[in-house]
Symmetry: C2
């Protein structure tokens, strides 16, 4: 028996059509096997020693003379900072120059690490780089939205093995982003609360989809999860933008994020995944109706014609089962050794 | 140099970051090689002779004692017609029973055909089955939306080689579908026209993205195409729902659809693809602001973290180039022989 479930914030629906017999191993078998990766690679532009292969960094965090995280302009950027933001018409169609800022966050000097296997302190440095670049980029008056994301593995859209994530800043806030915010305003006006705060509190109260929790963060598989093992990481305090994160919050988040990613790594055998930090537009940092969060989507299913047409995703694993599975996964010192 | 382009109807944006050197062959090399497929397969539930392996059909079109198209309930349906549509709360979250209708359109008795290689007459029979089932299903008072789609190949979400498409009817019209319609109402109220009619006329006037055209239909790569070789097929007369299609229109559409799919087949060497018929909700068949159309999306790129986060797609081939390529593709009697 299947059911529809609604996302309280976006009002989008999913179909939960749980194949009860489905185990994590059913998803592992489809994983593209990863080739063994050396700790350093001569021709990798992100490896220690090859710094000359990238453009000048916009940010470097170092320790004892060695960089820990470098942020560099994306060599293959789809947007360029030297464009203007004028809009123009082609007949009745609207265009704008490709203004924007695209950067790569090189997360570690070593080629064969990934966030799930790093020291928490190193993960915290990556998160600090996200926040500090988001803060700096937000000062550009032409930027309206900063999207921070990570593509891990070919099925998630990257063939580059060296651990990295990306930042893309655009002058545009599209309907895809704006529509859920409009829902959040309606909810706020009706209920007097941030819908994301309410949703998170409800998840904590219902408990069955919680993966792991700290004083200030919680990770869970959402009630209306779109795909197996989809997870979300929320700060408990109301905070619309990631750029408002305090240093001690970044460290605490690094712990729970590495914990979450290590569980996925172990449970699904290093799956390809995307993560995205959904954060308020520039200027909306203090609004009462938005809340930043991170969504982590392991690539274990393919959205097909029905999902593309209707926006209704069919999820074959109940988020209660995904959460139980991740919660019960034993992770031991994931930072020791590498695959 | 890149540019933003806006979809006039949905107001969503894409980034066109065209890699001018990119040729269709660059996309072909990533195609999963198809295994040779026999004309009939003993264990294929959709093959001629194996009709007992499916549930009783809801529609059969036959000729000279042989069926041409069979529509059957989906054996692995995510939704069931014997559920009720009551909604209920789990805490503050909304759910509904999994009511819905899910059917498979078996497009041909032969296992190793595909729409791109069929006779036009056979394609017309498939389209007639779509329309007739959409009409019949729409009489169910609990159904609000009928989605007709085709997944071709594993990257498009199917591993079943036998030519088939799907119909899923839901009691729910989700925001993903509703939001563009709200934009269409705003446009209608401001301009007094259907935005889709205007968009199509503008494409015909600008000419550069047209692939092929008949008296009553036009196929083009849209101005704000999200991915390389994305194509749309529009009826020229204002028609919100596919169920309003007349018999002679179905035949004309079969010709241009087969032509379009044959061009994709030849140009991209039988790519995996999804197509979707976007059609008005039940009861909206006569509204002045909507227009049904078909979107065809070859699976030649992977939406990654940025696309998932922002809804802004980065397209590496200008739709002008995609259209030129498809327009110039020589197709000769695609119906003769099979791959």
């Amino acid at each position: 028996m299947s059911e529809f479930r609604q996302n309280l914030a976006t009002k989008e629906w999913v179909i939960l059509s749980a194949d009860r017999g489905k185990r994590p191993s059913d998803f592992i078998k489809d994983n593209p096997r990863r080739q063994p990766v050396p700790p350093y690679k001569d021709d990798c532009p992100f490896c220690k020693g090859n710094e000359h292969l990238t453009a000048d960094p916009t940010l470097v965090y170092s320790e004892e003379g060695q960089w820990k995280v470098r942020v560099v302009p994306n060599k293959y950027a789809a947007l360029q900072p030297d464009q203007d933001t004028r809009r123009a018409c082609v007949g009745s169609f609207l265009t704008a120059h490709g203004f924007g800022i695209a950067e790569v966050v090189i997360e570690h000097p070593r080629h064969n690490l990934t966030l799930a296997r790093m020291e928490i302190d190193d993960v915290a440095t990556v998160l600090r780089a996200y926040r500090d670049r988001q803060q700096a980029i937000s000062r550009n008056p032409d930027v309206n939205l900063v999207t921070i994301f990570r593509n891990h593995g070919p099925r998630a859209g990257t063939s580059l093995a060296h651990p990295h994530s990306q930042i893309i800043a655009t002058p545009i806030v599209p309907p895809h982003v704006r529509n859920p915010w409009e829902q959040a305003v309606l909810y706020y006006d009706e209920h007097g609360h941030c819908v994301y705060c309410d949703m998170m509190r409800e998840e904590i109260a219902q408990k069955v989809r919680i993966i792991t929790e700290t004083d200030r963060f919680v990770a869970y598989c959402p009630f209306a999860a779109r795909s197996p093992f989809e997870a979300r990481l929320y700060p408990k305090r109301h905070m619309p933008s990631f750029l408002s994160m305090q240093d001690d919050e970044l460290v605490e988040m690094a712990g729970i994020l590495r914990d979450l990613l290590a569980r996925l790594y172990t449970c699904l055998d290093d799956p390809d995944y995307n993560f995205i930090i959904r954060s308020a537009a520039i200027g909306d940092e203090d609004v009462r109706y938005l809340h930043w969060y991170m969504v982590v989507i392991p690539k274990v299913s393919i959205p097909a014609g029905f999902e593309m047409g209707s926006g209704i995703y069919i999820n074959s694993v109940a988020p209660e089962d995904s959460a139980a599975c991740l919660r019960e996964t034993k992770i031991e010192c994931p930072c020791r050794g590498t695959k």
